[in-house]
Structures are given as structure tokens and as C-alpha cells.
């Protein structure tokens, strides 16, 4: 393995190092002094950004993993294979970061293994815990061929390849369950959440929105890595993905509005409150604007247009998760939650670590290219492109 260039300091590397260092320091402080001294969590606000951002957003962005894996392996749409590995890597790193965030947030992290032997199947948190454990394992296995190829472990590789399809199917089931169960966590809090976000279909809303966000993430990551590694962007593929995003956003918007109407909560939308403001930001900035942008063919076939639309989808998704977990439980002005410096540092440090790990693996392992003996498989999609292009 050649690690050339690993010590060359670039702007973003410097930013990442600073963020990781402060995050690490803040994490140490949290373990040394406890949650009360280092966070702004309190009895009336027990969950903060470590749950609202690190976990809800982290898991949601990993949704690209199951969507693309299902597209390629289950639906047999082979032309998406070039972006399969990077998306699986994103998902895997996302889940590792979720676990890291969880270790910071849990009051008694050394007892986390209790989840394995002490069962309470009536708890949504029980489902969440098992999905995290199982799906992280599945993602590790799905990504393992990259590592195994690198070290030429042919026998193990063959075993993994043989179980690919069951693995992917298990991954899809676990991932959808996990996404929805994160929404179900909030089903049990009807009284305390603002009616703009509490709904009995919240698990369903979580699944729809994570598909849009996961796909937006594949677009963003494709652009960032093309810039970082001088690769070409798979523009036709991403343009196709953006059409799917349009449909998903439309579905999400319809379901969301119908839900508000059926609960007679539409009246809260235009009230002059903090919550309705955040709701409008979430829906207009994060759903309607990217939807309109991506409807235009010009935006879909331009790099910058795609990229910024995807960023908007991502912003909308982050807003939805944070609003569900935090904004909906805030009351202006007596019950507000602003994260502490340490909470912010840990979160930013984790995100920086995720980007760094992605860059490292992508640079030194074969993430973007397909393996040599798989070349035959990639070629399968070429006839489709040939016929597609021959309309002269």
C-alpha cells in the first residue's frame, strides 16, 4: 500500500484535523466530568443534538446504501454499479459514527451490551438497537470485498460473493426497519411534541424522506470525490437519480400535507410561532425548492444545478430530523435547547472523522473502480447504453 501524499497538508485536511482534535478533547471532557457539566441537556430536555443530529441524521444519510444496493442487486439495474461501493462505504461509516455518537450520549455506555441479552420487545428502542447492531454487521460484510480484494484473500472473497444477494436483502429489510423505527421512537410522545411533527405515520415519513436524503447524499459525495480525486462525475447516472429524488420529494410532500390535513394541523403552519417558521424552512427550502429545481431538465443535466439541489434536499432532511427531535419539543421562550460547545465539538469532530475516513479508504482502496475480475459484469450494462445512444 502506498500512502503517498498522506502527510501533505491541504485546507480541508487542516480543517478536519482541527475539528477532530477539538472533538476528541470534548469527548474526553465529557467522560471525565459527566453529561451535566459538558452538555446543555437537562431533565426537561433529555435528548439533544447527539440524538437529533448524530443519530437521526447519520442513519438517514446512510439510506443511499440500501437504495443503491437494492437497485443494483435486487432490481438488476447494473448501470448504477459504479456508485455502489462509495454509497456502501458512506453508509458503513455513517453507522460507525452513529455508534460513536451513541457512546458519547449514553449515560452508562459500558452497559451497552445489555441490549443483547436483556430484551424488551415492546420497546422501540429495542428494535433500534438490534437494527443498528445487525445492519452495521451487514454493511461491514457488504463492503468487505473491497478490503479482501486489496489483500488478495480470494477464499473469503468467494464466500462473501456467494452470500451477496441474501446479504443485500437482509440489509434492505434491516435498514428500512431501522429508518422507520427511528420515527417510531417518537410515537410514544404524543403530548409533548408539536402537532406539526407528531403524527401516527411518522415511521412512514421517516422512510420516504431518508430515501430522498440518501440519494441526495450519493450525488453530493460523487461531486465531492470527483473534486478531491480528479475523477469524472457520473453525470447521466446522477441525473437519473435526481429524477427519482423528484418523485420521492413529491410523494413526501403529498403524504405530509395529507397527514397535516387529516389531523387538522394545517392551521399551525402559518401561525407566527417559532415552530411554524422552522416548519416552513423545512418544507420550502428542503422540499419544494429542490423539487422545482430538479423538475427542470437544465438543472438535472448541469453539475452545479444537481449539486446544489442535492444540498437543498439534504438541508431539508436535516431540518426535518432536528425539528422532530428538538424543535417540536421546544417552547418559546421558556423551554429552549441550545447545544453546548462540547456537544458541538463532538458532533463536528465525528463528521470530520467521517469525511477523513471516506477520503482515506477511497484513496487507498479500490472504491471507485470495479475489481479486475468484475470487469465482465460491468460490461453488461453497455448494450443498454449503446441502444440508448443510437438515435441519430
Amino acid at each position: 500500500m502506498k500512502f503517498e501524499g498522506i502527510f501533505k497538508l491541504t485546507f480541508w485536511k487542516a480543517v478536519a484535523i482541527v475539528l477532530m482534535a477539538t472533538g476528541f478533547a470534548a469527548a474526553i471532557e465529557r467522560y471525565a466530568l459527566g453529561l451535566g457539566a459538558t452538555t446543555n441537556l437537562k431533565d426537561t430536555f433529555p435528548w439533544g443534538i447527539w440524538i437529533g443530529f448524530d443519530i437521526l441524521v447519520g442513519v438517514g444519510l446512510a439510506a443511499g446504501g440500501f437504495t443503491i444496493a437494492a437497485t443494483v442487486y435486487i432490481f438488476g439495474i447494473e448501470r448504477f454499479r459504479p456508485i455502489l461501493r462509495p454509497t456502501i462505504l458512506t453508509a458503513f461509516l455513517g453507522y460507525l459514527l452513529v455508534i460513536a455518537g451513541l457512546m458519547a450520549d449514553l449515560g452508562r455506555p459500558w452497559a451497552i451490551w445489555h441490549a443483547i441479552i436483556m430484551w424488551n420487545p415492546h420497546s422501540v428502542m429495542f428494535e433500534v438497537a438490534w437494527c443498528v447492531m445487525l445492519y452495521t454487521t451487514v454493511l461491514a460484510l457488504e463492503f468487505s470485498p473491497v478490503i479482501l480484494e486489496h489483500f488478495k484473500l480470494q477464499r473469503t472473497l468467494r464466500v462473501i460473493k456467494a452470500i451477496t444477494i441474501p446479504l443485500v436483502i437482509l440489509g434492505v429489510i434491516l435498514s428500512t426497519l431501522h429508518q422507520s423505527s427511528l420515527g417510531s421512537l417518537f410515537l410514544i410522545i404524543p403530548g409533548r411534541m408539536h402537532p406539526l411533527w407528531y403524527s401516527n405515520i411518522i415511521p412512514f415519513l421517516f422512510i420516504i424522506s431518508c430515501v430522498a436524503a440518501g440519494l441526495a447524499m450519493t450525488i453530493i459525495e460523487s461531486f465531492l470525490s470527483s473534486r478531491a480525486f480528479g475523477r469524472e462525475v457520473e453525470l447521466p447516472l446522477l441525473s437519473e437519480i435526481s429524477r427519482v429524488i423528484v418523485v420521492v420529494l413529491a410523494l413526501y410532500f403529498t403524504v405530509r400535507v395529507q397527514d397535516l390535513m387529516s389531523r387538522d394541523a394545517l392551521k399551525y403552519v402559518f401561525m407566527p410561532t417559532y415552530q411554524s417558521g422552522m416548519f416552513l424552512v423545512e418544507i420550502i427550502l428542503g422540499v419544494l425548492l429542490p423539487f422545482c429545481l430538479l423538475l427542470s431538465r437544465k438543472v438535472r443535466s448541469s453539475k452545479t444545478g444537481l449539486f446544489y439541489s442535492a444540498v437543498l434536499v439534504l438541508l431539508g432532511f436535516v431540518a426535518h430530523r432536528m425539528n422532530t427531535a428538538i424543535t417540536s419539543m421546544e417552547h418559546w421562550p421558556d423551554r429552549l435547547y441550545v447545544p453546548s460547545v462540547q456537544e458541538l465539538c463532538v458532533t463536528l469532530g465525528l463528521v470530520a472523522f467521517g469525511f477523513t475516513a471516506f477520503a482515506f479508504v477511497a484513496r487507498y482502496f479500490n472504491v471507485f473502480g470495479e475489481a479486475p475480475h468484475e470487469v465482465d459484469e460491468i460490461r453488461e450494462d453497455q448494450p443498454a447504453e449503446l441502444t440508448h445512444a443510437s438515435f441519430e
Binding site: P46, I74, T176, S180
Partner: protein, 258 residues
């Protein structure tokens, strides 16, 4: 077999002497210190309203079907036969979902500790199991907090309202909140003016998530079957595509050779 016990707290009778707070701290070996709300070191708190003329006790409601019991992933909470909802720190992993889930916002956390525990009223479990009553009910000089079987307390509350319809709001708080609680309240002033959450479902709250959770195995099996099926169909299509690709490639090569 013990009958489920409970407390009836008649706000009209409370004189605001804070004896319940003192007795609770003493019985549970908590520090006697001023507080502004429930906390890890204060399991019941007497809050005053209307210029210190009305006093309302805050404490764990000990629901019949507690949200915390269903929410905790490791089952650290149990509803005991006395009616008390108890917490077992040896299981807890510290996720605070119980605090988030509780409709009455009762469980409190030891934020300052490095091995934080959840703290809340235990409805004097050991005293009741030993045949006694709760420390707060025993200490109350005005009879505002009375201890008894939940069934008897409901009858008693009903009787008090019927005997003095003008003196009470015709509502027993806790009779049906969250499917019923072991702690019941009577008041002369509407409950919403005394900080009681009134939007709590009148059914057991765990049902809200169980409706979804109970579908999970069915979904997993159905999704598995569906996905394998789709894969079986598309795998055949991929074979065909591979064959055609092979044909086309051969055509290109032949064309070039000619």
C-alpha cells in the same frame, strides 16, 4: 395477592405545609434542600399557584400501563404488584428514552454523576410490601394525600365530588389519563390551570408504538419474500442481457476483422 395501591391527592384539602416533601426525603434518604422542581434528589415537589393559595404535588403517577416500562429497551422498569413503578439501575444503559417518553415528565437524571441513574418516586415499595403506607400519606396532617387500594380511592373520590358538586371540578385526574394511573387528583380549579397536561391520550400510551412494532416480524417476512422474488425475476433478465451483450461484442469484433 396485593391489590393495586395508590394515592388520592385532594388539592382542596392541601394546606401547603410541605410535610410530604420532608417525609419523602427522610424515608428515601434524600437531602433536605430547597428545590424548584422535581429532580434526582427531590421525588415529590409541592408547587404553589394563585398567590400561594393552591398547592399541587408533583410526583410519579405510577401508570397502570407505564410508558417508561414499555419504552426501556433493557427492561429496567417494572410495574410491581403494589402499583409502584420501579427502576433497576443494574440494567440501565442511560439512553434517557424513559425521560423522553414519560407523558408526565417525571423521571429525573443524575446529570452530575459519571454513572448516572434515573431517580423518581418509588411509591414507598418496601413500606407497602411490608403492609404499611407511603411516607407522604402518613405525614400529611390535613388528609390531602390518602393512601389505599386504587379501587377504593376512585370510589372515595367519586363520593367527594358527588357530596360537594360545587366544591370540585367534576373530573378525577388519573382515572383515565394514559390508561389510568395509581395516583389520582381532585381539584376545585380546572386542572389545566394547575399545570396538569390535559392532552394525554386516554388509552395506554405503549399501544401507540406497539401498533407499529407488532407489525415488524410480518413486514420482515413479507419484504424478504418480495425481494427474493424480484431478484429471481431480474436475475433471469440479467442472464439474457449478458447473452445479448456477448453477441453484440462478437458482432463488433467480426465487423472489425472484415
Amino acid at each position: 395477592m396485593l391489590k393495586s395501591k395508590g394515592l388520592l391527592i385532594d388539592i382542596t384539602r392541601c394546606v401547603g405545609c410541605h410535610e410530604c416533601e420532608r417525609a419523602c426525603a427522610e424515608a428515601n434518604r434524600l437531602p433536605q434542600e430547597p428545590a424548584t422542581d422535581l429532580s434526582a434528589r427531590r421525588w415529590t415537589y409541592l408547587k404553589s399557584y394563585n398567590d400561594e393559595t393552591v398547592f399541587v404535588r408533583r410526583l410519579c403517577m405510577h401508570c397502570n400501563e407505564p410508558t417508561c416500562v414499555s419504552a426501556c429497551l433493557v427492561g429496567a422498569f417494572t410495574k410491581t404488584e403494589t402499583g409502584a413503578v420501579l427502576y433497576d439501575e443494574s440494567k440501565c444503559i442511560g439512553c434517557r428514552y424513559c425521560m423522553q417518553a414519560c407523558p408526565f415528565e417525571v423521571p429525573r437524571y443524575e446529570w452530575g454523576s459519571l454513572a448516572p441513574k434515573i431517580q423518581k418516586c418509588r411509591l414507598c415499595y418496601e413500606r407497602i410490601a411490608g403492609g404499611g403506607q407511603t411516607a407522604c400519606a402518613e405525614a400529611c396532617p390535613a388528609g390531602a394525600t390518602v393512601f389505599g387500594n386504587r379501587d377504593d380511592l376512585i370510589r372515595e373520590a367519586r363520593a367527594r365530588i358527588d357530596a360537594n358538586p360545587g366544591g370540585y371540578v367534576d373530573y378525577i385526574y388519573g382515572l383515565s389519563e394514559a390508561g389510568g394511573t395509581s395516583v389520582l387528583f381532585l381539584s376545585a380549579i380546572p386542572f389545566e390551570k394547575l399545570g396538569f397536561p390535559m392532552n394525554i391520550p386516554k388509552e395506554p400510551i405503549p399501544d401507540l408504538s406497539w401498533r407499529v412494532l407488532s407489525q415488524v416480524p410480518k413486514y420482515a417476512v413479507a419484504a424478504g419474500v418480495l425481494l427474493f422474488g424480484i431478484n429471481w425475476i431480474t436475475a433471469r433478465r440479467t442472464d439474457v442481457a449478458r447473452f445479448e451483450a456477448e453477441e453484440r461484442r462478437r458482432a463488433i469484433t467480426e465487423h472489425r476483422e472484415r
